[in-house]
Point group: C2
Chain length 189, copies 2
DNA sequence: GTCTATAAGATGATAGAC
DNA sequence: GTCTATCATCTTATAGAC
């Protein structure tokens, strides 16, 4: 695939309209190529930073950085269009599925590492949590475009919640045992 | 505003196309009217159920019910289009802002009631949390359209997290005091 | 208020010269 | 491979008869 052309097009280069169809066939194919390239390169650029994440609060901080960057590059607007279109177009849904799966895989690795050996080991599901995080991120991206002050408040609230989670993780063993006992009683019901 | 017409149009009634412009002026005005009417009636129908929510897990359950209903009525698809369009169109952004503000107000009331007097009183910000919840809900709506199994996993993970929060809330006073001390030390840093 | 007809503009794509 | 020209179709209206 001529992704050099794609890069030029995304940069706003003044390319002949007919050439787009010559290279990509249909718009759906173009969008697919653009999104896959965008997510692949984005993830590639963040691999080391994901690997360096050592806590939920750090993960959230990385998320905020990513959020700012993706918005500045225009990827958020593209992703918003993609997700909206995907609701009623299976071709776009397949593209979106690829992008989400890539982010999910990255997130799941991090979440599994954080949960493993912590007080939450066995209590939380890394795969499900990764999906919850990526969909939450997605929602915040869209929310930000409409009410950026509100999005900021939401992120601050989540950060406080993250600190809370970490503090629970550092609770003395007696308290943690009490927590586990209560949890077991709850989930059995 | 002739919302009777709107209802007919939304029901898929075979209305003359020119009439839409006669009644609403522009498409943006039509979308605005449709969305406001949809969110107003939706919230109206859920007021009692919101009032009955007594815990975060119950709030999540109500969210799942709402999620299913909104998807079935097609409101999710409309909201997705609205949010995507709002990213680059201020007129649509204003409409979206209204819808989000209405849900936020409802959520904030519930969250404030849940936090008030609990172990999290003063530790969590109801307004920010309400916005985090509504944007998370929004993200899940979109995610569901692309990967419904993944959305289900995400909701299950969130429910487990909710149970965890409630269990922390029921921790013995000694453990809760330890938690608060640690938290204060953390947030000062 | 409601209908038919029509038009301006954008979008997605193809044909064919170079 | 790249360009110009042209297309069918859809969207967003407006005009004017009834």
């Amino acid at each position: 695939m001529p992704s050099c052309r794609l890069a030029a097009w995304r940069a706003g280069a003044d390319v002949n309209q007919a050439l787009i169809f010559y290279h990509f066939g249909t718009v759906a194919d173009l969008i697919d190529a653009a999104c896959r390239e965008a997510v692949d390169s984005s993830i590639d650029g963040y691999r080391q930073q994901f690997a360096a994440v050592g806590s939920f609060v750090e993960l959230l901080r990385l998320g905020r950085e990513l959020h700012d960057r993706e918005r500045a590059t225009g990827n958020v607007a593209i992703m918003a269009q993609l997700m909206a279109g995907a609701q009623s177009n299976e071709r776009l849904a397949a593209t979106a599925r690829y992008c989400l799966a890539r982010w999910n895989a990255e997130l799941e690795t991090v979440v599994a590492r954080l949960v493993d050996g912590s007080a939450f080991d066995g209590l939380l599901d890394p795969a499900g949590l990764a999906r919850a995080i990526s969909s939450g991120f997605l929602g915040l991206e869209l929310y930000e475009g409409v009410d950026s002050a509100g999005a900021h408040d939401a992120l601050e609230a989540l950060e406080r919640l993250g600190v809370l989670v970490e503090v629970v993780d550092e609770l003395p063993p007696i308290a943690q045992r009490a927590l586990r006992v209560k949890l077991r009683r709850r989930t059995r019901t």
